[in-house]
């Protein structure tokens, strides 16, 4: 099973060494092959041990893995025409594929991990392989940002390791060497002899994970990195890397919830609200697509974290799924949208000829409107359910008024973002000059794939499945 899962990545790694021009067209086909073991995993009884106790697939795992793989397939499709939109040398192009393959392997390891240490190793592998991918774009800005990413990413990952060591130390007296396993920690959470140690480890690891996702105070770090790199890299970040980080957060917070819910909630609540506050205004001022989309990604991740700790796990998972499809789709389309210049927002949605062009701009407008939670986008539903979960949680405690005030505050911030996106859409559609832009088949195929996935996400059976996950 494990071999089948990493097979597409290995194929990609092998193909990247060949100098044949058409070799890369093999890749989308081999990448689709990853769906086969995943579908099989859906039918197997959970939890299904893939590799001893280290890699275990439970319902949450399989869901996140499915989403990440779909994003991976889409990105592989879109990568076929990378050199038509930006300048990249063939050698750098091949290296890109190599690191993408390593990234994919690291990702599979960290998503399926049941062992904190294995999770960390996969995350570090994924982080390190993306560093080079940023640098493929040979501008001085990319060079500087790649180093920036390396240093800050390394610090964030080290903080996560520090947190993991402390959490392991707190549970070692009762569980011995097995204290690294998520499932054991979850079942024995109340028996941990020193809860404060666990909480401290959790806080430090969470700060590391939040920094990696671009929360306060590193909001602009992520935006600058994604600006300086190619659009598929940004798509990979927002679609796949963040899913690896957020699944870690999901698991850690479930354990911390057992230990001291009040502390957990207060910490995450304040942090995410602060982040959304800052990011909302940064979005308002963003002047180009990449920064805009990456900041919007930060905002959505913060909402996901907030919904998860409020008990709205269904809402969080739905939001996560929708975001994981929408954001990479938007990033991939910036390859085309920016083909006439980076800061040409006005008129970006005009000037497409032919069936492919028509389909493209319809899809992109729908995606743009979907990401700000207009119905019938899944985000609309997820936000409704999420806020409901928050109110539900507040009913149990004495802070109903504070929660309502916080929700109103959040809605105000979300409306700032809504306003910006709507004006953006209007300027893209109705203003500016008509400049001819070409759309290529493979990118369109990726966008269609994402749109189909979103539609599948809206089906009642998917909702039912998501409800049953936690």
């Amino acid at each position: 099973m494990l071999i089948l899962l990493v097979l597409p990545a290995l194929v990609m790694f092998a193909v990247s060494f060949s100098h044949h021009r058409k070799a890369k067209f093999l890749l989308p086909i081999s990448s689709v092959a990853i769906l086969l073991p995943i579908v099989k995993l859906f039918w197997l009884p959970k939890p299904y041990a893939i590799w001893g106790n280290y890699l275990v697939a439970d319902r949450l795992d399989t869901y996140v893995l499915l989403i990440s793989s779909l994003v991976g397939i889409g990105v592989t499709l879109a990568l076929l025409t990378l050199d038509k939109h930006v300048k990249v040398s063939p050698k750098a192009y091949r290296r890109f594929y190599r690191f993408f393959a390593i990234f994919w392997v690291g990702l599979i390891i960290s998503i399926l991990a049941n062992h904190m240490g294995i999770y960390w190793i996969g995350l570090e592998l994924a982080t390190l392989s993306t560093v080079y991918m940023i640098k493929t774009n040979h501008t001085p800005a990319a060079h500087k940002e790649a180093w920036n990413y390396m240093i800050v990413g390394a610090i964030a990952i080290s903080l996560v390791l520090f947190g993991i060591i402390l959490m392991y130390a707190s549970a070692k007296p009762i569980l011995g060497e097995e204290a690294m396993r998520f499932d054991l920690l979850l079942s024995h959470a109340k028996e941990i002899p020193s809860p404060f140690l666990f909480e401290m480890g959790f806080a430090i690891a969470t700060v590391g994970m939040f920094v990696k996702m671009g929360f306060f105070p590193m909001n602009l770090w992520l935006a600058n990195i994604e600006r300086a790199s190619f659009y598929p890299v940004a798509a990979l970040f927002s679609g796949i890397l963040e899913s690896a980080v957020i699944i870690g957060f999901f698991r850690f917070s479930k354990i911390a919830e057992q230990i001291n819910y009040a502390h957990l909630y207060g910490f995450v609540f304040v942090y995410t609200l602060l982040t959304i506050f800052i990011v909302a205004f940064l979005i308002f001022r963003a002047k180009d697509f990449m920064r805009l989309f990456s900041l919007s990604g930060v905002e959505h991740m913060a909402l996901i974290a907030l919904f998860w700790v409020s008990g709205g796990t269904f809402a969080a998972l739905l939001h996560f799924g929708a975001h994981a499809f929408l954001k990479p789709a938007l990033f991939l389309s910036t390859g085309v949208l920016e083909s006439r210049g980076k800061y040409r927002i006005a008129g970006a949605l005009r000037g497409y000829k032919g069936k492919k062009g028509e389909l493209f701009w319809v899809l992109v407008s729908l995606f743009l409107l979907a990401i700000i939670s207009l119905p019938p986008s899944p985000m609309f539903f997820s936000e409704l359910y999420g806020f409901a979960a928050m109110v539900e949680m507040a009913k149990q405690s004495d802070h109903m008024l504070a929660m309502i005030a916080a929700i109103l505050f959040l809605l105000v911030l979300l409306s700032v973002i809504f306003y910006r996106f709507v004006t953006l859409y209007q300027s893209m559609k109705y203003e500016g000059k008509e400049e001819e832009k070409r759309v290529y088949g493979s990118e369109l195929a990726a966008l269609v794939l994402f749109a189909l996935c979103l539609l599948v996400l809206l089906l009642p059976s998917s909702f039912a499945y998501l409800r049953s996950i936690v």
């Binding site: 390190l128 640098k135 390394a154 080290s158 060591i165 002899p193 140690l197």
Partner: protein
């Protein structure tokens, strides 16, 4: 008794590394740091009779005390690093900042020390080494000292793993080494300033 002495030496080499203004000196102190760490791992491993720790101790000695400094020197010659690295924080402020960090971290780890089996004071030193490595990263402008700061952070985390938990599982330690090696590979690629070619 010996463990105390070597942990003191670990912290001492880190502090001397904070004051130096030459790259090769910094690499030398990092390699001394890793040497002391390896000896510590071997000593504690022998005391606890833990084979995994002995293996990782030897791996630390070979990879971190010899291999990585050699590679860093090789990189610095190949890519013509700037070898004069003056800290941004002048020595006057560093004299106040470093003891302040030491006191702050010792105070911070006070609650933890009551909760962990084994000698809790060592955890305080590992946490302060972590913060001092962060300081090392922040106080230099060039990239090479930042890399060495990151590497000392890994050393401090390894020490924390040894003293707080009596060694992390073997697989995790090996994975961490593997990741470190991969980091070196990535760095090698990053330093290459290739020309823009279409």
């Amino acid at each position: 008794m010996g463990v105390d002495f070597f942990i003191g030496l670990f912290l001492a080499t880190l502090i001397v590394a904070l004051f130096t203004s030459r790259l090769y000196r910094l690499i030398f102190w990092y390699s001394m740091n890793s040497l002391v760490l390896g000896i510590l791992a071997l000593m504690i491993g022998k005391a606890l009779d833990d084979k995994a720790m002995l293996v990782t101790g030897i791996a630390t000695l070979v990879i971190k005390a010899v291999g990585i400094p050699y590679m860093l020197k090789h990189f610095s010659e190949k890519f013509h690093f700037v070898r004069q690295i003056q800290p941004q924080i002048s020595a006057h402020y560093a004299i106040i900042l470093i003891p302040a960090i030491l006191v702050f971290t010792f105070y911070l780890s006070e609650p933890i020390t009551h909760m962990i089996e084994g000698n809790a004071n060592y955890i305080a030193i590992s946490i302060s080494s972590l913060f001092l490595s962060l300081l090392l990263m922040m106080e230099h402008r060039h990239v090479a000292p930042k890399i060495i700061g990151f590497l000392s952070m890994e050393n401090a985390l390894f020490l924390l793993g040894i003293t707080a938990t009596g060694g992390m599982p073997m697989l995790v330690e090996l994975g961490i080494f593997f990741d470190l090696l991969m980091a070196i590979v990535v760095m090698n690629l990053l330093f290459h300033k290739e020309e823009v070619s279409s």
